[in-house]
């Protein structure tokens, strides 16, 4: 049963299974385990980034395609929801229409980029995606009449998904049962559904071909696979996944802007998360995104604590100065790549090389 839900892709390591179960339960019960707006916000971000990173890993880890356009698709989904909500008025129909439209646009964009440029060498494809993504980001920040420019767009989501809507008079386990909670579970189950779909895709016959192309495209072609179509197919699925994650993100933030979706920094974050977790496994995305988002949100707090604790010692408080959190993130990254060249998942599975 579980095996079927996971599409036969078992974690294949006791510790990895344990870590995944902890993350799953942690996110499933986040509102009750970690009360507070900030924790809930972090949990929702983790959910969304897991889905986003997994969709990117489908390209990078499974198919061996380097693309810098992933945030563009993320943004397309986010702007889709925002624009629909602004123009159609707040409502579920706007959210659904925006999500579908975003996914469709992402699919078309990915198909066009793929069919035109996945024939060329990998490095050129990477460059083309970079160029297109940059152009789109500039376009979105310039067309302020439509997209709100650099300021982005604020919009309203249905009241049923906000804290204004109370579902129970009394809190359960100290947590208010309101629309905000419902909204969190939309993020949770939305991301979970995406992950399960990706697991299925990568373990399908199609997914095996993607791995074959990554391993040896020359041979994959010689045994009869038309690799351009497979690569384009992978790009489209990945783009649609990113767009849906983007829609969820916009719904969660009730805002969209270049900085939350389209920026190159987010692209770098995605790359880091894939590499930290382990390329070529969906579970790598789960772990990479969890570690990264937590570090991003709490490393500074941790450093405040460390700086205070070491305040009487020489030098150490300087090193732990919260303003240096990015340095620490960098160090964490370098260490993780050095010690886990196959990512955390590769390490936990005991893979060598």
């Amino acid at each position: 049963m579980l095996k079927h839900i996971l599409s036969g892709d078992m974690p294949r390591s006791k510790i990895l299974s344990l870590v995944l179960v902890v993350i799953f339960l942690g996110l499933a019960f986040a509102p009750f385990l970690f009360p507070g707006t900030r924790s809930l916000d972090t949990a929702a971000r983790i959910c969304i980034f897991i889905a986003l990173v997994a969709s990117y890993d489908l390209l990078l880890g499974y198919t061996g395609i380097v693309s810098f356009a992933h945030t563009m698709f993320f943004g397309v989904g986010a702007y889709g929801v925002a624009l629909a909500s602004v123009h159609m008025g707040r409502g579920f129909d706007a959210l659904i229409a925006g999500t579908l439209a975003g996914a469709l646009v992402a699919a078309i964009l990915a198909a066009i980029i793929g069919l035109f440029s996945l024939r060329v060498r990998a490095i050129f494809f990477a460059m083309i995606t970079l160029a297109v993504a940059t152009a789109v980001a500039v376009l979105f920040s310039q067309m302020s009449g439509i997209t709100g420019g650099e300021d982005g767009l604020n919009f309203k989501i249905p009241r049923a998904q906000t804290s204004a809507q109370k579902y129970l008079a009394d809190p359960v386990l100290g947590v208010k049962i309101n629309g905000k909670l419902l909204n969190y579970y939309l993020m949770f189950f939305g991301s979970l559904a995406l992950i399960l779909v990706f697991l299925r895709v990568v373990n399908s016959p199609f997914g095996r071909v993607l791995q074959a192309i990554r391993e040896n495209e020359f041979r994959a072609e010689a045994v009869g696979y038309k690799i351009v179509f497979f690569r384009t197919g992978a790009s489209i699925i990945s783009a649609v996944g990113a767009a849906v994650a983007g829609s969820l993100y916009a719904i969660w933030l009730r805002y969209v802007g270049p900085d939350t979706t389209l920026s190159f920094e987010i692209m770098i974050d995605i790359l880091l998360m894939v590499v930290i977790g382990g390329m070529g496994t969906i579970y790598g995305a789960v772990i990479g995104a969890t570690i990264f988002v937590i570090a991003q949100n709490y490393l500074q707090n941790l450093m405040v604590v460390a700086a205070d604790a070491t305040s009487s010692l020489p030098l150490l408080p300087l090193i732990f100065n919260p303003d240096r959190w990015l340095l620490w993130l960098g160090i964490l990254f370098v260490l993780s790549v050095y010690f886990f060249p196959k990512g955390v998942v590769g390490r936990l599975r005991g893979e060598r090389k």
Binding site: S204, P205, A222, F230
Partner: protein, 255 residues
């Protein structure tokens, strides 16, 4: 008039000024095993590349059952029945032995674009893959990652993948090179079995004369990219042009 299974007409490729394959016209009827011999650099592998599509010809044509294919991409040619095992092992290195073979059978079964079933649920494909592994004596290594496989076994897998593809036109490029003396017979026997099927033809690049003598219905000789002899084994081997062009020079190569 029926067409031969495979034919090349004036097939030529130039790399810069160097003519690697020089106007080779040759017909390969179904049911025949043709050995292709020639010294190193004669153009045997390049001739194969032109037929299976890794290289586009400068001039000339390749026809499968009378249909021109020399401008088709590699994958389309594979669909038309051209199958190839490579001289330099050319596998999916970080996948298991089984997965390598399964991918081939899955391609043949046209299941590549199946997105929502589990690969492992395709029982027939799995069983066929295991059968091929059994036939080449690799079943024990089924779950080994290919890059961890000894060289001889990788060579066997190379052959297994072609046999799994089960094409109309089999092209083997020195299939037993790098195999130990007790591994080679397994592979040669599999190639011999292909001769029972009158709908297929086999092209075999091979340096070992004893192998050629037992397997080949016919020998063609390439030299400097040109076809210099074509005929039944005993005639070709004793002809003076072959003695000169090939046997004399390549003695060091006969193992």
């Amino acid at each position: 008039m029926s067409h031969p299974l495979l034919a090349t007409k004036d097939l030529t490729v130039r790399f810069g000024g160097h003519v690697a394959v020089d106007a080779i016209s040759c017909v390969f009827p179904a049911g025949e095993l043709t050995a292709i011999v020639g010294p190193n650099g004669a153009g045997k592998t390049t001739y194969f590349n032109l037929i299976s599509g890794q290289i586009t010809p400068t001039a000339g044509s390749v026809q499968v059952a009378g249909e021109e294919i020399s401008r088709l991409p590699v994958a389309r040619r594979a669909e038309r029945g051209i199958g190839r095992a490579f001289q330099l092992t050319n596998l999916f290195p970080n996948l298991t032995v089984f997965e390598n073979v399964r991918l081939v059978i899955q391609s043949k079964a046209k299941k590549g674009f199946d997105l929502f079933s589990m690969a492992d649920d395709h029982v027939q494909i799995r069983e066929d893959a295991d059968q091929v592994l059994q036939n080449v004596n690799l079943l024990a290594q089924r779950d080994t990652i290919v890059s961890a496989l000894p060289h001889g076994d990788q060579r066997k897998l190379e052959v297994a993948m072609l046999i799994a593809l089960d094409p109309l036109i089999y092209m083997f490029d020195e299939p037993t090179a790098g195999m130990s003396a007790d591994e080679a017979p397994v592979v040669l026997e599999l190639i011999e079995q292909l001769k029972n099927d009158q709908t297929k033809c086999v092209l075999l690049v091979e340096h070992k004369m004893d192998v050629i003598r037992t397997l080949a219905d016919r020998i063609i000789v390439l030299h400097n990219g040109a076809l210099v002899a074509d005929g039944d084994p005993s005639t070709v081997m004793s002809s003076s042009i072959v003695q000169e062009a090939y046997m004399g020079k390549a003695l060091g190569h006969v193992e």
